[in-house]
């Protein structure tokens, strides 16, 4: 999905403007949009990857003018509609009660899984495949086709591309890949190296 979310390296968005003493939430609707988004997770109607896909499929002008919780709210409305919750009441996998919230969130939801052994070791040279899938994908456009090297092997994780399509977790090896910033941007960079976490199906041996 080469959509509005894939902004790495783009110009025209202006300087970064931090807000002094920023509150955690700016408005009640943001608070509620956040809470509903998190609480719907354990219900199991969609994966985190699918919720990201529903955010990045917002129209470009909306994606670039809404606050981020606005993006979450728009996506949540569409996820709820996609599952058909207006018309029926599909059984949830789990509903978090008040007392369960804190321990459940503090325990987290790990994404590592059993699966096939990683193909690449630390130091291996790899190239991100040239690709442009319309579906959810976590290889940013600025890295596609570029060559780097493995700096860390994270084990086997849920594969976002299939997970976002309700096509299963398809666990696969996850690596941190380092890139020389000049290979990405030529002379037009002040970075030394850029690292990203990339899944084995995105990578070819060099």
């Amino acid at each position: 999905m080469n959509g509005p979310q894939d902004v790495g390296g783009a110009h025209g968005f202006g300087p970064v403007v931090p807000e002094p003493n920023e509150p955690v939430f700016h408005d009640d609707w943001e608070t509620l949009a956040f809470a509903l988004s998190i609480l719907m997770g354990p219900c199991g109607f969609w994966s985190i990857d699918r919720s990201r896909y529903f955010r990045e499929t917002l129209p470009h002008p909306d994606y670039y003018t809404l606050t981020y919780y606005g993006i979450w709210l728009e996506a949540l409305e569409r996820l709820v509609a996609d599952v058909g919750i207006h018309e029926r009441t599909p059984p949830p996998k789990r509903v978090l009660r008040g007392a369960e919230v804190r321990p459940t969130l503090a325990a987290g939801f790990p994404y590592d899984r059993p699966g096939p052994a990683p193909r690449f070791g630390v130091g291996a040279a790899v190239r991100v495949r040239p690709m442009n899938p319309a579906h959810h994908n976590r290889a940013p456009r600025y890295l596609r086709g570029k060559t780097g090297w493995v700096t860390r092997v994270h084990g086997i994780h849920v594969f976002p591309d299939t997970s976002a399509q309700n096509a299963g977790e398809a666990p696969t090896a996850l690596y941190t890949i380092a890139f020389d910033a000049k290979d990405l941007w030529g002379e037009d960079t002040t970075a030394g190296r850029v690292h990203a976490d990339l899944f084995e199906p995105y990578l070819d041996a060099v």
């Binding site: 970064v16 509903v95 369960e100 987290g108 600025y142 970075a191």
Partner: protein
């Protein structure tokens, strides 16, 4: 980023409608909403990450464990959970400075830093930092020597990054609580340095 009041009202109406539906269906409860808001507004925030960094500064053995397996080391302080299940710590040095971003959405290490500030989620930051991190530092009023290499980490999967800023000079013998006061949120993202002692 509209500050238009009619827009906010529309969002308010929409989110309330959605909440009513989800409560009615039994997927969401009022007390769960209150619990989650309390948790992320009051209990989880940069003070957690600051404790981790201060301990790493004070205790070399802890720092070694943090760099080896950050998730486990952070759990020693009873910190962890959603969006921090797979942590990696990045140690700044006199020759390498680290900065963290999520170009594709808003991935951020909640258990140690809380929910991300707005600027972290803006296209402005996400677009700029992977190509021009010094320009971003300039936006934050931070200048690094030209020979410092800046390494940017793009959080493209479920791994979350915590930057360990360099310990400021003049803090020898400080205890962890005092050190933690020097560790800001931005220093743990990489858009600032740790605060120098007054």
């Amino acid at each position: 980023m509209s500050g238009d009041h009619s827009h906010l009202s529309e969002m308010d109406v929409r989110v309330r409608a959605l909440k009513s539906l989800l409560v009615e269906k039994g997927y969401v409860t009022e007390d769960a909403i209150d619990a989650i808001v309390d948790y992320y507004r009051d209990e989880v925030g940069p003070m957690n990450g600051a404790r981790v960094v201060a301990r790493a500064w004070a205790d070399p053995a802890f720092e070694a464990r943090l760099l080896e397996n950050a998730t486990a080391a952070i759990a020693e302080l009873e910190i962890g959970g959603r969006a921090g299940e797979h942590m990696v710590a990045l140690k700044n040095t006199p020759t390498v400075h680290h900065m963290v971003v999520c170009t594709l959405c808003s991935c951020y290490p909640w258990p140690v830093l809380g929910l991300p500030p707005t600027w972290y989620k803006t296209p402005a930051y996400r677009a700029k930092v992977v190509a021009d991190p010094r320009g971003v530092l300039d936006d934050f009023g931070v200048t690094l020597p030209p020979d410092v290499r800046i390494d940017v980490f793009d959080s493209t999967a479920e791994v979350r990054y915590l930057v360990i800023p360099m310990r400021p000079e003049g803090t020898d013998g400080w205890d962890e609580a005092r050190l933690a006061n020097l560790v800001t949120r931005d220093a743990m993202i990489g858009t600032a340095l740790a605060t120098a002692p007054a």
